[in-house]
């Protein structure tokens, strides 16, 4: 139920069995079926979720009703609207399940309590957010500096598992491209192999 959560945690910060048991008291195991929401726009993000099994995504809907995927999360990844989670103000994003999922949720109150009482949790969160910041920076830099073909190649190289689990039109949405443009990029890359 918490295997992946603690595997990921221990990769960043090593825990004793006793410390794992303390943290377990604060975790919420949650199953979500495909297409069910963890969060909908306008609600406050009350938990951050680690994916034990399945795939989640976050997206926002622009004023024209167009969906823009902002993140994917596979097994071992964490997803949530960090701004809404920290500010406890309504979120502009939606988070739903692309497959049947098993999640481990950390609520805001559990998160705050763990930050206060367990220095190893604070270290884990710091490293988690640093990684997320670096990924975000890489994504922005790629958008600014790379050609479309290289951006797609960088995406596939960085996240090979996502491309196998998520439909192409969602990857196009994540990259800010139309499905047709992504299709042309893929055709070009296949013919140039």
């Amino acid at each position: 139920m918490y295997n992946v959560f603690f595997q990921k945690f221990n990769q960043k910060v090593s825990l004793t069995e006793q410390e794992e048991n303390v943290i377990k008291q604060y975790l919420t195991p949650k199953k979500l079926r495909k297409r069910q929401y963890l969060l909908q726009e306008g609600d406050i993000c009350k938990s951050i979720a680690l994916v034990e099994k399945g795939v989640m995504r976050s997206y926002l809907v622009d004023p024209d009703g167009q969906e823009h995927i902002t993140a994917f999360a596979l097994e071992g990844w964490t997803i949530g609207d960090l701004s809404s989670f920290h500010s406890q103000l309504p979120s502009t994003q939606n988070i739903d399940a692309l497959e049947d999922c098993e999640l481990v949720l950390v609520s805001k109150s559990a998160h705050d309590e763990l930050l206060k009482t367990m220095p190893k949790y604070e270290t884990y969160i710091r490293l988690l957010i640093t990684d997320a910041y670096m990924a975000l920076q890489r994504r922005i830099l790629n958008m600014i500096s790379l050609s479309l073909d290289d951006r797609y190649k960088a995406f596939i190289d960085t996240y090979p598992n996502i491309a196998q689990r998520v439909p192409q039109h969602m990857i196009a949405s994540y990259m800010g491209l139309s499905p047709e443009t992504l299709s042309r990029i893929r055709t070009r890359m296949n013919t140039s192999k």
Partner: protein, 232 residues
């Protein structure tokens, strides 16, 4: 002294919450299931007898074809999927079910509706310094136990407004977010929520229910009765 607190109840949440109702086909469980099916909830209904569950499902869908309900074959699975778990079970069944859901109910809201009545309905089987809800909290130490729906009768779910007064439904618990969520459920079920205090106030709420049951039998209210706080 019963401390009555008032809070603002906002039920406009977009994200659909999943509610597991364990013991959905009992008198109370079916009333709760039917009334909550009208809200923005996904209901996972569990009971021991599948045929009774199917009858309940038919009844709910006949009244509300868009109700988001699903029959569950396992209380543990239902509770794992749920955000909120309602134990619509008699007090003696509490311990056994708590053992089945303990792990998956970690950090979740668990609503205790049980009144620990003795066999002759003239007393409670719990000691004076505890309550069914507090005993449940001991069994589920990492869950957020809330007492709710124990002061209303099953018939009140069909008719929550009695003699032109909306019946009050008292709530007790120690977690503010859990009290807010329970209040929203009470509103959706048709009652006026009153947060009475911390979980220890369940002792008073369970005794209020005992008194109402005794008065019902003595005065022939036909189980259509409820508590109402009158105030300015």
């Amino acid at each position: 002294m019963l401390v009555v607190l008032c809070i603002k109840i906002d039920t406009k949440m977009n994200t659909k919450q999943t509610i597991a109702i364990i013991g959905a086909t009992g008198n109370m469980g079916s009333g709760i299931s039917k009334n909550l099916s009208a809200g923005n909830y996904r209901l996972l209904l569990f009971a021991n007898e599948l045929s009774k569950l199917q009858t309940l499902e038919t009844e709910i869908l006949a009244k509300n074809p868009t109700a988001d309900i699903e029959l569950s074959e396992c209380p543990t699975e239902a509770s794992w999927e749920a955000d909120v778990i309602i134990l619509a079970l008699p007090y003696p069944a509490q311990q056994q079910i708590a053992e089945k859901i303990r792990e998956v109910a970690n950090q979740k809201i668990v609503i205790s509706i049980a009144n620990p009545l003795n066999e002759t309905y003239d007393g409670l089987v719990t000691a004076p310094d505890t309550s069914a809800a507090e005993e449940l909290q001991k069994l589920l130490p990492n869950s957020k136990v809330v007492k709710a729906f124990n002061t209303v009768f099953a018939a009140d779910f069909v008719q929550p407004v009695i003699a032109e007064k909306q019946a009050d439904a008292f709530i007790a618990g120690d977690d503010q977010d859990a009290l807010q969520t329970a209040s929203e459920l009470v509103v959706t079920a048709g009652f006026n929520p009153i947060i009475a205090g911390g979980l220890h106030v369940s002792r008073t709420l369970e005794n209020m229910s005992l008194l109402l049951i005794q008065l019902n039998m003595k005065n022939g209210y036909k189980w259509l009765a409820g508590w109402k706080i009158l105030h300015q």
